[in-house]
């Protein structure tokens, strides 16, 4: 038996035992129906805005699969190791020629594959979005690739924690907490830290005093400028914290995916919108703005989404690296806690 054929046997066992149940197929059926309804509604709703709505549909479906995948995967993977221990089937596997790494990796792959079943279920609708038009092949390819990666990260976190923690319920809950920390926690940290960090803005402005009609001369009085006025106020600073967002799976997915723009410089899909919004956080606010009404060319022009994205740096690879280290670290931890012959046991843990 080679290393990989051993993993294959564990994988087969896991898929037969853990995944292939009636409830699982019902869940996939419900998911299929929900994505179907969402796709139809999106196509109808977005058609009001133009022809090439495929990008919007595709990005919504991908986000939907990411949401459901990260909601279901912890329940499937979070008890992969300690659940077997509770059932009394872990030790029977460990007294065979299967090594600890083969066991852990086989369970990880099984969890990953079962998460990918959701993506496979959504494939017909992804095809619909491509047929509708307006989807760049690079957009579809990269976003699906990142989705697959993210589902793998959640699977690895679940399997890793199930090896490290003793109680199945506890490890499932902790896996959910990790997913929540990445998906929602990063947003909360970003928002709170930004609001907590206030900077003082000193704003200079002067206004045009419009001339008034002089009834005695019948002429307009001269247009004059008011003296410069200084006002001081505070503004929240988000730019030091944009790095927090790179670990958010939804931001990471949007940030990594190439963006298509329309003529106005606006993104054509949800990824682009998320990307522009989060990239905008990198730009520090102007702390000494001047508003001069008397200047010949007044009126501030805001940068388009395209300009924002092109002027800022991508952070997805940093996020991906963080996720990779998290997933890998937890798998190594699970390996270390599951090694046999065991030298140390957690309190109250059963090895059989």
């Amino acid at each position: 038996m080679t290393f990989f054929s051993g993993i294959g046997t564990v994988l087969r066992l896991e898929l037969l035992q853990r995944v292939r149940t009636r409830a699982w197929y019902i869940l996939l059926g419900v998911f299929f129906a929900v994505v179907g309804v969402v796709t139809v509604l999106l196509v109808l709703a977005l058609s009001a805005f133009g022809d090439a709505v495929g990008g919007g549909v595709l990005s919504t479906i991908i986000y939907f699969v990411l949401l459901l995948g990260t909601l279901v995967t912890p329940a499937l993977s979070g008890n992969a190791v300690n659940g077997d221990r509770a059932d009394g089937t872990l030790a029977t596997t460990q007294v065979t020629q299967i090594g600890t790494w083969q066991l852990i990796l086989g369970k990880f792959l099984a969890a990953w594959i079962s998460a990918l079943a959701f993506l496979a279920t959504a494939v017909p609708f992804i095809l619909v979005s491509i047929l509708v038009g307006g989807v760049g092949p690079d957009v579809a390819f990269v976003s699906i690739l990142v989705l697959v990666f993210e589902l793998g990260v959640v699977s690895a976190v679940g399997v890793g924690l199930s090896g490290i923690l003793t109680r199945p319920l506890f490890s499932i809950v902790v896996t959910y907490l990790v997913v929540a920390a990445l998906s929602i926690g990063t947003l909360i940290v970003f928002g709170l830290a930004g609001v907590a960090t206030q900077s003082t803005v000193v704003s200079q402005s002067r206004n045009q005093d419009f001339g008034s009609y002089d009834s005695t001369t019948g002429e307009m009085t001269e247009v004059t400028c008011s003296p410069w006025q200084t006002s001081t106020y505070t503004t929240p600073r988000f730019d030091p914290y944009w790095g927090v967002l790179v670990a958010n799976p939804y931001v990471l997915l949007a940030d990594a995916t190439p963006t298509r723009f329309d003529e106005g410089g606006n993104p054509t899909d949800l990824f682009g919108a998320v990307k522009a919004a989060t990239r905008g956080a990198q730009i520090p606010p102007d702390l000494e703005p001047t508003y001069d009404d008397c200047a010949p060319e007044y009126g501030t022009s805001y940068p388009t989404a395209r300009e924002t994205i092109e002027d800022t740096v991508p952070g997805w690879f940093v996020g991906a690296l963080i996720h990779l280290l998290l997933a890998g670290g937890l798998l190594v931890g699970a390996w270390s806690a599951t090694r046999t012959p065991a030298r140390r046991l957690a309190r109250g843990s059963r090895i059989a």
């Binding site: 087969r12 037969l16 089937t89 029977t92 046999t340 109250g348």
Partner: protein, 320 residues
Amino acid sequence: MADWGIEVDGVARSFGSVHAVRDMTFTAGYGSVTALIGPNGSGKTTLMLMLASLLAPDRGSIRIAGHDPVTAPRAVRAAMGWMPDVLGSWSSLTVRATLEITGRLHGLSREQTTSRTDELVAQTGLTALAEQPTRVLSRGQKQRLSLARALVHDPRVLLLDEPASGLDPAARVELRSLVRRLAAEGRCVLISSHVLAELDEMADSAVYVDAGATASAERISSARTSLRQWRIRALDPSAIVPALDAASIPRERIDRDHLGTLVSVESESDAARLLDSLVRAGVPVTTFAPVVGDLEHTFLDLNRVSTPPQPPISETETLS
């Protein structure tokens, strides 16, 4: 090539402050059945886990078929089959699939696995259930599946932890003959059970453990030579006691229970002499047998004279 299937020398293992196994030393040979006997919490299962290469000992050395489970777990696992006392099975898999997957996990080829599975399903009497998912099996059927799983890779050393619990009498008889057959094939079988009468009929030798230590040979032989009760029944029960008086058995060695008259004698030869004198005295003896089996007698006697057992501690209880 090792002469012994199992060699255990001065093995100790503690969990925190709980010394589950303090000092165990014994050997078990090929072609024989060795019984592992001890009260609850005496460290039997902890020892089994160490022999099964799942738990590393703190001290001492273990050899399974000549290999050290700590340094060469794969070699040990190839030579050793373990039937745990916990009845776990993959509930969605059929009996056949369970055995096939186990064979594959042991590194057997597909063809080897298939033929071995057919063989074991028949041998353990699970043919009718082969295509059923294991969750529908009864406790006794799961027990048989567990034994079949331990035998998939044709191991030379077998560790059976409480294999008879939950089996009906007919299945126990089958298990006994199966275990004897496995030993006759040259395997080394170590078997732990609480049903000592049954081990009596199966085991060639016994290892007694108490409070994490194996009993020494001297203690065992002194326990064996201590007084032992024999039960006597006759067609005319009233004739027994006068005949015992005539054979000058002191009255304090005579007792009664609902089945017959109990007499304490020191050895088997004393028992034979007593039977002879009863028959000569014309007592119509129908039953003349020890009240408890050899193993049980030794076990109970060792417990009586041994140091007080360790207090049961929850951490050791959760270890199996």
